[in-house]
C-alpha cells in the first residue's frame, strides 16, 4: 500500500509492481503528480500550458531524465536569454548586466536604495558579495580535504558539522559580516532567497548555481508539460504492462493507519460518502509531512521522526500564470539584442517573472499566444498573493508587469489567468517543498529515512531526499523506499528466475 500518487509514490509503486508486488496506491485528489501540476485547457487556451509546480530539469538529474527517456517525452531548453531587474525605488527597468555594472560603478542613485552598505560591500555585485561571504567555507573544506586526501566525504561532513547550525541569514551576518543593507541588496537582487533556510542547503544550491552562470544553464523542460512524467506511470496497458492505471484509488483521503499484532498494516480512508479500510503487509508513505501530520496513527513513530514530521521546514510558493493573446515582450527583448525569452526580478509583489522559451517550443509554434509566469513568489510574498481573490491577484500581477514594461500595452493582450497557491493547497499540506532549516539535516536525517513499525512502514516523498524541491528528489526517495521494502520483503525468499526482473 502506498499513500500518495505524486511522483515519488508512483515511482515506488511502479518499481515494486515490476518486482511482482501487489501494489495499491491511495490518492486523495483526482489526479496523479502531486506537486507536478501542469495547467492546460480549460484553464488556458487549447494548445497552451503553464506549470503550477515543477517546471524544469537540470542536466544532472539523471533519474528524472531516465524516466523522461523511458516514457518517450520530448525535451527542449529552459534557460533564458535575457534577465531584467525592476526596483521600485529606482523607477525604471534595467537589464541585469546593467544592474551589475551600476553596482560595480557605485552608482549613487542605485546605492541610495541600500543605505548602510559597508565600504567593502560597495562596488560588488550580489554574486560577488556571496562568493566572498562563503569563502571561509571553501577554505575550511580544503583544509580538511588536504588532511584526508581523496576523502571528500570527511570534508563535507566537517563543513556540515561546523555550519549546519546557521540559517542563511545568520551565516551571512555572523560569519560573512554582512550589513543589513547587503542582506537587502541580496534579497531584491535574487528574489528567491529564503534567508531562514539552512545555510548548508542554501550554500550547495548557490555555489552550484554560480557554477552554471545563473542556475538556469543546462536546464530543460518538457514540450507538452511536466505532467507527462507522472502520467508516464499510468499509460495504456498495451503500451506498458506495468502501468499503474488500475492500481490507484482516487478520491481516497487516508485518515488513519494501524498495525495489528501480526504486523498487518490497516489503512482507513474517506472514499466519497463511505469510509473504507484495507490491509496489507507494507506501507509506503509518500506524501508531504504537513499532510502526514493530519493522519492519525494507532501508535507513534520513533520520537525523532515525529519531531521531523512536525517541524521540518517547508517553503511556501505561489505562482500566477497570465495568458496573453500576443507575445508583446518579444520586441522589447529583441531591442536588447537578445532572444525571445527572459526572467525578471523585482521588489514588487510578483517578485519573479519568467517569459516563456519560444525557440524550439511546440506551443509557441502552434500559437502567437504566450503564457507568462508573471509571479513566482516565496514565503510571505506567496502567502500574501495566495490570500487575494483570484480576480484581484490577476489584476495585481498584470498591472505589476505593465508597470515594469510601460508602453508595451500588455494589459490590452491579457486573456486569461490561473494561479497555483501552494499555501492553500490541501493535498500538498499547504506547502510547496521541503528545505532544511538550521540543524535539521544533522538532527533528523537518519530518522527520516528509517523504516517504522518493525520495518513495515517506509517513507518516500521529496522531503526524504537531499534534492528538495525537485522531481529528482521524488525519484531518489521513491526508489530508496522501494529498495528498502524490497530488501525486507524478499530477505527470506528464493527465486530461481533471476531474469524475471528484466524490463
Amino acid at each position: 500500500m502506498i499513500i500518495g500518487a505524486g511522483t515519488s509514490g508512483l515511482c515506488a509503486g511502479y518499481e515494486l509492481k515490476k518486482a511482482g508486488f501487489d501494489v495499491q496506491i491511495f490518492e486523495a485528489s483526482s489526479r496523479v503528480g502531486g506537486r507536478v501540476k501542469t495547467f492546460k485547457d480549460p484553464f488556458l487556451a487549447p494548445g497552451l500550458h503553464g506549470e503550477g509546480g515543477a517546471m524544469r530539469i537540470p542536466d544532472d538529474h539523471f533519474l528524472t531524465l531516465k524516466y523522461v527517456e523511458k516514457f518517450g517525452l520530448d525535451l527542449f531548453p529552459f534557460e533564458q536569454e535575457n534577465k531584467f531587474i525592476f526596483l521600485e525605488g529606482y523607477g525604471s527597468t534595467l537589464t541585469y548586466d546593467k544592474f551589475n555594472q551600476l553596482l560595480q560603478a557605485k552608482d549613487a542613485k542605485l546605492l541610495a536604495l541600500f543605505p548602510g552598505l559597508k565600504p567593502g560591500e560597495m562596488g560588488k555585485t550580489c554574486d560577488e558579495l556571496f562568493e566572498a561571504a562563503v569563502e571561509p567555507v571553501r577554505e575550511y573544506f580544503m583544509e580538511v580535504y588536504k588532511k584526508n586526501p581523496n576523502n571528500i566525504t570527511a570534508a563535507y561532513e566537517a563543513i556540515t558539522e561546523k555550519y549546519d547550525k546557521y540559517s542563511l541569514r545568520t551565516y551571512l551576518t555572523d560569519v560573512g559580516k554582512w550589513s543589513q543593507a547587503a542582506i537587502n541588496l541580496y534579497d531584491v537582487g535574487n528574489a528567491h532567497v529564503v534567508f531562514e533556510n539552512g545555510f548548508i542547503e542554501s550554500w550547495k544550491d548557490a555555489f552550484l548555481s554560480s557554477n552554471s552562470q545563473g542556475g538556469l544553464a543546462g536546464m530543460r523542460q518538457l514540450q507538452e508539460g511536466m505532467d507527462g512524467i507522472p502520467k508516464g506511470f499510468i499509460r495504456d496497458p498495451d503500451v506498458d504492462k506495468h502501468t499503474l492505471i488500475d492500481n490507484i484509488t482516487f478520491g481516497a483521503r487516508v485518515t488513519h493507519i494501524d498495525i495489528s499484532n501480526t504486523q498487518q498494516i490497516s489503512l482507513t480512508y474517506d472514499a466519497g460518502a463511505s469510509i473504507e479500510t484495507v490491509t496489507g503487509d507494507w506501507l509506503i508513505i509518500a506524501i508531504p509531512y504537513p499532510s502526514l501530520r493530519l493522519i492519525t496513527k494507532s501508535q507513534s513513530f520513533s520520537p525523532r521522526k515525529e519531531v521531523a514530521i512536525r517541524s521540518v521546514r517547508y517553503v511556501e510558493v505561489t505562482k500566477v500564470l497570465l495568458q496573453y493573446r500576443q507575445r508583446w515582450w518579444e520586441p522589447i527583448f529583441h531591442a536588447n539584442g537578445q532572444g525571445h525569452d527572459g526572467g525578471l526580478v523585482t521588489d514588487l509583489p510578483i517578485r519573479y517573472t519568467m517569459f516563456p522559451k519560444t525557440k524550439h517550443s511546440r506551443q509557441a509554434e502552434r500559437s502567437e499566444r504566450g503564457v507568462v509566469m508573471a509571479a513566482y513568489t516565496f514565503e510571505q510574498d506567496a502567502t500574501s498573493l495566495g490570500a487575494m481573490s483570484p480576480e484581484h491577484r490577476t489584476l495585481l500581477a498584470a498591472r505589476n508587469i505593465d508597470r515594469i514594461f510601460p508602453g508595451a500595452n500588455s494589459l490590452h493582450f491579457l486573456e486569461a489567468s490561473i494561479a497555483q497557491v501552494w499555501p492553500a493547497d490541501a493535498m500538498a499540506g499547504g506547502s510547496a517543498f521541503a528545505y532544511f532549516g538550521p540543524m535539521e539535516k544533522t538532527l533528523f536525517w537518519d530518522d527520516m529515512v528509517s523504516a517504522e513499525w518493525g520495518s513495515t512502514v517506509f517513507f518516500a516523498g521529496e522531503q526524504v531526499s537531499y534534492t528538495h524541491g525537485w522531481i529528482q528528489g521524488a525519484f531518489e526517495a521513491g526508489i530508496s523506499a522501494a529498495l528498502q521494502l524490497y530488501s525486507i520483503a524478499t530477505v527470506n525468499l528464493v527465486d530461481d528466475d533471476d531474469d524475471s526482473m528484466s524490463d
Binding site: M142, Y156, A489, L493, S502, D503
Partner: protein
C-alpha cells in the same frame, strides 16, 4: 542514507561531488582531473529503473498479498 550518500546522491549527485571538488580546487590548481566516486551509487539507482529492484519476484514466491 548516510552523509556519504548525501554527498554522493545529494542535491546534485555526482556533479555535486565533481563541482564541490572543482569549486574547492578552483583557486588552487585549476584543471586537475576530478574523480567521480559517485558513479557506483548513481549506477545502482539507474539499474533499478533499467532492470528492476533485484532478482527476486514477489509474484511467484510471496505468501503475502494486499487484501
Amino acid at each position: 542514507m548516510t552523509f556519504h550518500d548525501d554527498l554522493l546522491l545529494g542535491s546534485t549527485l555526482s556533479p555535486l561531488r565533481r563541482d564541490l571538488l572543482k569549486y574547492a580546487y578552483s583557486k588552487v590548481d585549476d584543471g586537475d582531473e576530478i574523480p567521480d566516486e559517485a558513479e557506483p551509487l548513481k549506477n545502482k539507482y539507474l539499474h533499478v529503473v533499467e532492470k528492476g529492484l533485484g532478482p527476486k519476484n514477489m509474484s511467484t514466491l510471496s505468501q503475502k498479498k494486499v487484501s
